[in-house]
Symmetry: C2
C-alpha cells in the first residue's frame, strides 16, 4: 500500500504530496498497524522475543519507576482456561506466545520497606502511573513486534474474570493485569481499523468538541461504506433492535450500555490499592 | 552505537551474536530511546507533526473506543504558566511543540446520550481503559517522532497542579490529563536510562520476585558505576541524610516517601468519574 492508501484506510481521507512526504517507512508501518488473531504454527524464536521485549522495556516510565511487569503463559492448559474468560477470545489458546501485561506497584513498595522509607503515595495518581507505564511498554512491544514482521493483538478481555486470572498468574498484592497480548507470525491480514479524524482527537489550545455529532455521523458513514454491517450482524440486536443508521457510534454505545467488569475496582482494592 | 553497546547501556549486560542478530534497525532505535529536554529553535514542520500524530492515533484502542485526545498548547504565555507547575519543568516553555495527552471518556458518553443508550460503565475499569488508551497513543507518538529524528519527553509533572492545568485547557467533565509531551529537534544527546534486567520484569507462568533484593542491589551498583551520584546530589539529603549505598532504589523510594499529587483522585472524581 502507498502512504496515501494507508492514510485513507486509517482516517478515511487521502493526503496531499507534501503531507505524504513526511512519512518515512517506520512511521508508514505504524500507520498501517492492524491487530492479528490468527497465527502460523511456526514458533517465535527466543532471540527475537528477547529483542522485542528489550524494546518494550526501553519505553519511558514515569519518574524512572518502571512500574510494569509481564508474565509469559506457556502452559497450554492454563492458556485454554484463560481463553474461556470471554466467548470472544477462544482464539488466544492458539497463539504461539501469550503474555499478560501487569501494572506493578509492588516492586517500589518492597524496595521502600527494604530501604526503610515509608510509602507515601497510595492514591489514584500512583495507580494510574503504573497503568500508563504498562500501556507505554505494551505499545513499544507492538511496534517492535510489527517491525520484525510479527503480528499481535492486545486482549483486555482477560480481565473479564480478573480474580481467576490473578489466581492463575499468582499475582501478589499491588500487581494487577492490564491486558493480554497474543503474538506470532501472521496467518491473516486483518483490515485496518478506521480511526476518528485528527480534527476530532487533536485539539488546539483548549478542548473543543462542538463539531462532534457531525464529525461522528460522517465517520460512521465512512466506516460503513468501507465495511457495511449487515442487519443481522448488528450488536445485540435482540436487545437493541435493528438500527437504520448503524455504525461505529451505535455499535460502541450499545457495548457500553451493558455493564462489564464491574468487579475490577473491587479487585484492585483487594490487591491493596487505595484509590482516593 | 552497535546493538551490543545499546543493550549494555540499557540493561547493563551485553548480548551474544545470536541475540544481537534479532535486532533490526527499527527495534535497535527503540532500544536506544532517550528523553530529550533541550531543543533547537528550528520548528517542527506541520506535515511531520501530522505524520507523527497519524501514527499515534493508529495505535490500538480498547474495544475500538478511542478514548484519548491530545491538546496542543501553542500560546507561549500559557505554556510558561504550565511550566511553573513544578520547578523541574521550566524547560518545557522552550519546547517547539507542546502537547497534553488526555484520557477521554466524554466522547463515548456524549454519543451514548445522542444514540439514546444508557452509559452503564462508570467504574474503575472504564477509567483505566481511557488512561491506558492514552498511554498507547503516547508511546506510538514517541516511537514515530524518534523515527523521524525528533526528540521528545513525556512530562507527568503537568499534573502537579491538575486543577490549574484543567482550567487552562478547559477540560470538560470526563476528560483528564495523563501527561504533557515536549517535542522538537534535539539539541542534546541524553544518556540512556538504564533499565532493570528482563529477569526482574519478565516472569514465567506466574509472578515471581523472590530474587528482587539481590537483583536490585546489583542494578543499583551497575547504574552508579556508569553514572555515580555525588553525595551532595543525593535526593533530598537535608531530609534523608547521605546514604553510603545510594542508587536507583534509594533515589526512587525517597521520592515516593514524599506525598505527591494527593489531589488527583479528587480531581478525577470532580471530573465526574465513579471509580468503584
Amino acid at each position: 500500500m502507498t502512504i496515501q492508501q494507508s492514510h485513507e484506510a486509517r482516517f478515511g481521507a487521502g493526503l496531499d504530496d507534501e503531507h505524504a512526504a513526511a512519512f518515512n517507512p517506520a512511521i508508514g508501518r505504524m500507520l498501517d498497524h492492524r491487530s492479528c488473531r490468527l497465527f502460523e504454527v511456526e514458533p517465535v524464536p527466543d532471540n527475537l522475543l528477547h529483542a522485542v521485549l528489550s524494546a518494550a522495556f526501553s519505553a519511558p516510565s514515569k519518574s524512572d519507576l518502571q512500574q510494569r511487569s509481564v508474565i509469559r503463559v506457556r502452559n497450554r492448559e492454563k492458556l485454554r482456561r484463560i481463553s474461556r474468560y470471554s466467548p470472544a477470545i477462544g482464539w488466544i489458546s492458539q497463539a504461539p506466545v501469550f503474555l499478560v501485561w501487569c501494572g506493578d506497584s509492588r516492586r517500589i513498595r518492597r524496595l521502600a520497606e527494604h530501604r526503610g522509607h515509608p510509602f507515601a503515595n497510595d492514591h489514584l495518581d500512583a495507580f494510574m502511573n503504573a497503568a500508563v507505564d504498562t500501556g507505554l511498554a505494551m505499545q513499544a512491544f507492538i511496534t517492535a513486534a510489527e517491525a520484525a514482521g510479527l503480528g499481535c493483538c492486545p486482549v483486555s478481555e482477560v480481565r473479564n474474570r480478573v480474580f481467576d486470572l490473578s489466581r492463575e498468574l499468582e499475582l501478589p498484592a499491588h500487581v494487577f493485569p492490564v491486558a493480554g497480548m497474543a503474538v506470532g507470525w501472521p496467518a491473516e491480514t486483518s483490515p485496518v481499523s478506521m480511526r476518528l479524524p485528527l480534527a476530532v482527537t487533536v485539539h488546539e489550545e483548549t478542548y473543543d468538541d462542538e463539531d462532534l455529532p457531525a464529525q461522528v455521523a460522517a465517520y460512521d458513514r465512512r466506516r460503513e461504506s468501507v465495511d457495511r454491517t449487515p442487519d443481522h450482524a448488528q450488536f445485540m440486536a435482540d436487545r437493541f433492535g435493528v438500527s437504520e443508521d448503524y455504525g461505529w457510534s451505535e455499535r460502541r454505545t450499545r457495548q457500553y450500555a451493558v455493564p462489564a467488569r464491574t468487579d475490577f475496582g473491587r479487585y484492585v482494592r483487594e490487591q491493596g490499592f487505595c484509590l482516593d
